[in-house]
Homo-oligomer: 254 residues x 2
């Protein structure tokens, strides 16, 4: 007395659900949804139970679960709701993390695009270089530090930034000269250079020791920054460090 249950062939089911035949084949192959019957010729015949399961699969897919997770969710259906809650919460956490990451990506690209739109003629070489430096920074600084740096740059203003960027190479050239001459770090000339150096760092970092530490890590691990050989910069940094130490010592002895 059973009412001749409806059966679907793959193509019919595919059209009805908006999926492709290939997708249904795939679900069959991996055992996620196997038709409850086959015709004598081997045609897949899906029953109402199968259609219901397919609905569930579609829904869970829409929520971004993998086929494997869906299988577990559907097969562990006997389990308590709490275990499902855990699965969903883990999934949610992963998703949120992804969203945050992509959000950051968007921000970065936005900044790059803005720069590109502003300068009417950016040499491609320079653009790529700036991208490299941007992302390099972002590997060494925490998001909070980057925000602080952005604020700092705004406070300094475009012009002062250009001044500083012009100042650095000059300063480094002078330091290099003294190093080559073998001038003692306690020499007044070196002391003056050390003060300028310290002031520039201070200006860039805004006095934040965390940012200074990140900057140090960056120079320790990258081989080139702004086209400079970091080995040379590190040597200078050490020299300047000795100069500053010598000065402090001199003060404490006074």
């Amino acid at each position: 007395m059973q009412p001749q249950r409806k059966r679907w062939k793959v193509g019919e089911l595919a059209r009805a659900t908006g999926l492709t035949v290939r997708t249904l084949h795939h679900y069959d192959r991996i055992g996620l949804l196997q038709p409850s019957a086959r015709s004598s010729a081997g045609y897949r015949l899906y029953g109402e139970q199968d259609v219901a399961r397919l609905q569930q699969i579609r829904s869970l897919r829409q929520l971004g679960f993998t086929l494997e997770q869906i299988r577990e969710l559907l097969d562990r259906r006997g389990g308590d709701g709490a275990s499902h809650l855990r699965v969903i919460e883990m999934h949610l956490a992963r998703l949120r993390e992804q969203v945050r990451a992509q959000q950051r990506l968007c921000d970065r690209l936005e900044r790059i695009a803005k720069r590109l739109r502003a300068a009417e003629e950016v040499p491609a070489e320079e653009l790529i270089q700036s991208i490299v430096e941007m992302t390099m920074f972002e590997r060494y600084y925490t998001p909070e530090q980057l925000e602080q740096l952005a604020k700092r740059r705004e406070a300094l203003g475009e012009e002062r930034i250009r001044e500083v960027e012009a100042e650095w190479p000059r300063l480094m050239e002078e330091v290099r000269a003294e190093m080559e001459k073998g001038t003692d770090p306690s020499d007044p000339r070196v002391q003056a250079l050390a003060q300028r150096w310290r002031a520039l760092i201070e200006e860039f970092t805004g006095g934040d020791p965390g940012i200074a530490a990140s900057l140090k890590r960056l120079y320790e691990q990258e081989t080139t920054v702004h086209g400079l050989d970091t080995a040379a910069v590190r040597a200078m940094g050490e020299y300047i460090g000795r100069a500053l130490a010598a000065r402090r010592e001199g003060e404490s002895h006074a």
Copy 2:
């Protein structure tokens, strides 16, 4: 007189950059980054140019470009900045779309998780069913309509919603009975049922014809909703439609 340029073996370069040897092999194979030299034993030897290019690749990867896009960006470096701008803007648009989609996903999962946490003991079967219905709704309603529906539900209150959910099956049972008896749609009993039907739809849709249309599409294309056979519901809907039409006709003749 060239200063014995530094060369890296794969493992060294991998350690220095934090990538894996396999990744460098991969880049070599696909021609994205081929070491400028090989040792006599066939060892890959990367020069400074190679390292620079790798930096660029890493940076662009961090921005989410595919290896293919990176190759194009780096190889078309002669091209103007504008073409790069276009690439970046397209990428940005795609990313933003992704973020929006994932944001929506998060919202949906959030709602499900909230429900799960609230009800201390949710039968897994029911949970999955509610997920199915939720996502089904979201396939048929536009985001704006969904928002409107959410507001509507809030306005009605939990209790009224439960009342309505209890009311529907009773009403449908009565309609089915009249249909079976073959009562004419213009019969006063059917007219009363039609009015109750119309009122419930009105309450759910908030009188929005767009939402009513989406609801209709849903019942036309899905085979089961809330465990009901939609074919039966469609038949009832048509019957009620005739009843309402008959009434309007009666009025216009009056």
